[in-house]
Amino acid sequence: MKKFIKKNWIVLSALVVVVLIIFILLISGKPSVTYKLNPQEALIALSDTSVFVSPADVFNKKDKTAILVDVRNSDEFTRGHIENAVNVPVLELFSSRSLRFFKDLAKSGQQAILYGNNQLQANSPWLLLKQTGIENVKVMQGGYDFYKMLPVNDSLLKTGNLCWKNEIPVIDTAEFNKKAAEPTEPVAVKKPVKVIPVKKETSSGGGC
């Protein structure tokens, strides 16, 4: 037997290695998170608008037991976040710790309200969690950028101001006809008077 092993050690060690590799593949291949909703069901889940929490409700702590979850990265979180919020960066959404966190919330009947800098940032994590069967998650509309302004300017909360409602159309098709009827006004290209790099305020935000 010993002689046999000695004579065939290459083949035998190949056999052992192969068995090991297959075993590793077998174990590592098991996904930790799986989808509980198929895409079609996820699409239906999207029509449930009750998952969108207004920033005012968050600000006024309407749901006292809800836990705020900040999905931004830890840098942004330390620079400023909503009081009592828990930081779960997007990439750690499916870590075993986070999954346990969401499960514990579900057990105690609490809601998790996700937020990012804007609503978009929290939207994808919310939909992903929803698809993997975590039900008790909601999204704060407007995001942290909007929330930040609330204490300063509470007129923002007045009804009628829909700034934070992501999918409410603001488009005014009259604009396309009115403008065309007007006499041509020269395109006002201001000569760059002086380039003073004032604080980096992005010009893109249309005031919102």
């Binding site: 065939n8 297959i22 065309a180 041509t184």
Partner: protein, 209 residues
């Protein structure tokens, strides 16, 4: 017979049997939740309204705009060249081919960006590539391009450049100086889908949002 061959035969059988037991990742027609996290976190999936505007004006042939708003809103106004796939039918098999045209950049847009993002996510889950989300949506596009405010006099050169670009773009979309009712946008590729409706609009919402 050489006993080495017996071991080799066992080796081959073990290898082949391994195929039966290891999980088949290729079978899943879906992106796994973990990979979705990475995809979702990648900022390259977003495209700015200015970039889209530039591509529309430049007639970028690879651009395929997908409007995920309901059909009635699409009929009132849509970006030139856009195709309407309402969010609730984004998974319908009749659109699969459209979304998988090789060499095309599919850009989803809605009024805001969450509906477009949802459409993006579900398509990505079903392994559709070359899809993007127009960040800020039509609302941002409208507020910056069509109603873009003049920059303050202290603005940097970049901002002024951006402003003049937007001014030009506005002229392009609203057809300033053109005959009423023939917006220049109609002349862009695929003019079929463009519908700049002339009837006055019911409300000008949002105030100065």
């Amino acid at each position: 017979m050489d006993r080495r061959y017996t071991i080799l035969a066992i080796l081959a059988i073990v290898l082949a049997a391994g195929l039966l037991v290891i999980p088949d990742k290729s079978k899943t027609k879906e992106t796994s939740p973990e990979s979705m996290l990475l995809a979702v976190n990648d900022p390259a999936r977003f495209i700015t309204t200015d970039d889209v505007t530039e591509r529309i004006i430049g007639g970028d042939p690879t651009l395929q705009l997908i409007d995920v708003r309901p059909a009635d809103q699409f009929n009132k106004f849509a970006l030139p060249g856009a195709v309407n796939i309402p969010l609730d039918s984004v998974l319908s098999p009749s659109y699969t081919e459209l979304l998988n045209q090789p060499g095309k950049k599919n850009v989803f847009y809605s009024n805001g960006d969450t509906d477009a993002d949802a459409a993006w996510q579900l398509c990505k889950r079903l392994k559709t590539d070359n899809i993007y989300v127009m960040k800020g949506g039509l609302n941002l596009w409208f507020n910056t391009i069509i109603k873009g405010a003049e920059p303050v006099s202290t603005a940097s050169g970049n901002d002024l450049d951006l402003y003049s670009f937007r001014q030009a773009a506005r002229q392009f979309f609203t057809g300033q100086g053109q005959v009423v009712g023939t917006p220049k946008a109609d002349e862009v590729k695929k003019p079929v889908k463009v519908n700049v409706v002339k009837k006055p609009v019911e409300e000008s919402s949002g105030g100065g949002c």
